[in-house]
Symmetry: C2
Subunit: 239 residues, 2 copies
DNA sequence: TATTCCCTCCCCAGAAATAGCGATGCGTGG
DNA sequence: CCACGCATCGCTATTTCTGGGGAGGGAATA
């Protein structure tokens, strides 16, 4: 693989980088190397906010944020349910909003072809690493096939860097739930009400409440729904 | 990178594999190539169950399962909080149970040195990819530094394969939610109660209730908590 | 040995969610 | 043009959840 050396060098540089400029240098170097329109890492935050670095035009980033495109971007929605990298063509562009979004994106300099790698970290962290460009289907297929592995690695390294920079204001967020609390949250998440959960766990409803309360406290949640949502998005329970 | 070709070949073979034997062939080939004691992929289920494939002795796998070592294994616990691959030396072996566990593992043929890569997929899926061997610290450091990138890629491909085999796919492709329903679900998921959601959306609480109800109906959910949980795990909302 | 979880059980009052029944307008697509 | 989904508003009664109190035993850890 001829490209290997260049990528290796950039990744090595990235590993050393300790400033945002270093990261930007890396991402621009990679963009040049791969000859694509854009190369972007962005962290999808739990609040729906997001940030990242990459080569998108600033007005597009602002527009995206302002219009809350996160909610309709098929790339985000599609990647959220996938593990493997995905070509944009294979996403669901059937809705009108999605097509309008795509048309607008292209106007803002986003390529018509794209390839995005979903990345997940602890506590439900979720990020995307995207390359996109303007070319025909065949060229793009060849590109992604040739570079898939490098891109996966690059995505991994960018996310690692992002996690390093993230001050991780999580003093009690990392608190895990007790087995009983996990049981309770899980059963609530699959639609049981308190009485059913208590019966399933063979405990009194009062005891169950203690678990729900303590889980809620640990998760910093305002109510049961919030607690279950947090437990889910942090990967503490699976439904 | 001299090792590249071999790894590429095995990964290509793995991509084609459609049986468990194919996967085992790949993992043994890689074990030989890297000259390590063990190379193991295992899927960690939140319920405590797990499965995987690799080169651990069967009696060790059985013992691990039977003793529920998942709960005390510092590798699992440590990796759960991390994104980047981790050398076993850097984990927390301070507890008595952890040291006893390690001593027993070595007796069962697990190397004294290890390197584990955490991997995460959609819906909180979590897996580990581990190589371990018996050698001194310096040799092991050199090994992990030289092979980190290959190992990350290998881990990625094994997980991709595991996800393909997993019948976990949700066939019930639920209809999507309307924008207002998404708003409602999202705000509920971040802890707002009905009154707060209604105020945030500048609608009456009665109207809000209609959204919650219709979202609940679409999602086939028994209650609000269930609906939010489903919306989250189907990636319809991002929190 | 002391401390700190974890699990279990109990009461009560007030707040919130659910299950029914409505209604009106406004777009989009067949 | 008409149906259908969407957004918006209303009422009542019942069930469920939440937020305060408590208490005791056991296991693990420091």
């Amino acid at each position: 693989m001829a490209t290997n050396t260049v990528v290796e060098e950039v990744l090595a540089a990235l590993e050393q980088a300790d400033t945002l400029e270093g990261i930007n240098d890396a991402i621009y170097a990679l963009k040049e190397h791969f000859s694509v329109d854009n190369m972007v890492y962005h962290w999808v935050d739990s609040a729906g906010a997001q940030y990242g670095y990459g080569t998108y035009r600033l007005d597009w980033a602002a527009r995206y944020q302002e219009q809350n495109y996160l909610r309709i971007d098929p790339v985000v929605i599609g990647c959220y349910q996938r593990f493997h990298p995905v070509d944009w063509k294979r996403l669901d562009w059937s809705s009108k909003a999605a097509r309008a979004f795509q048309a607008e994106a292209i106007k803002y300099g986003v390529g018509n072809q794209g390839y995005t790698i979903p990345i997940r970290g602890p506590n439900g962290q979720f990020a995307l690493f995207t390359v996109n460009s303007t070319c025909d289907d065949e060229t793009w297929s060849r590109f992604t096939e040739d570079n898939r592995r490098e891109l996966i690695l690059i995505a991994h390294y960018f996310n690692q860097k992002a996690l390093e920079f993230e001050p991780n204001k999580k003093p009690e967020q990392s608190q895990s739930l007790s087995p009983r609390e996990i049981d309770a949250m899980t059963l609530l998440a699959i639609g049981y009400n308190r009485a059913q959960v208590a019966e399933t766990l063979s405990i009194s409803e009062h005891t169950l409440r203690v678990y729900i309360e303590s889980a809620r406290f640990k998760l910093g949640a305002n109510n049961t729904t919030h607690a279950v949502a947090r437990a889910l998005s942090r990967g503490l329970i699976v439904v």
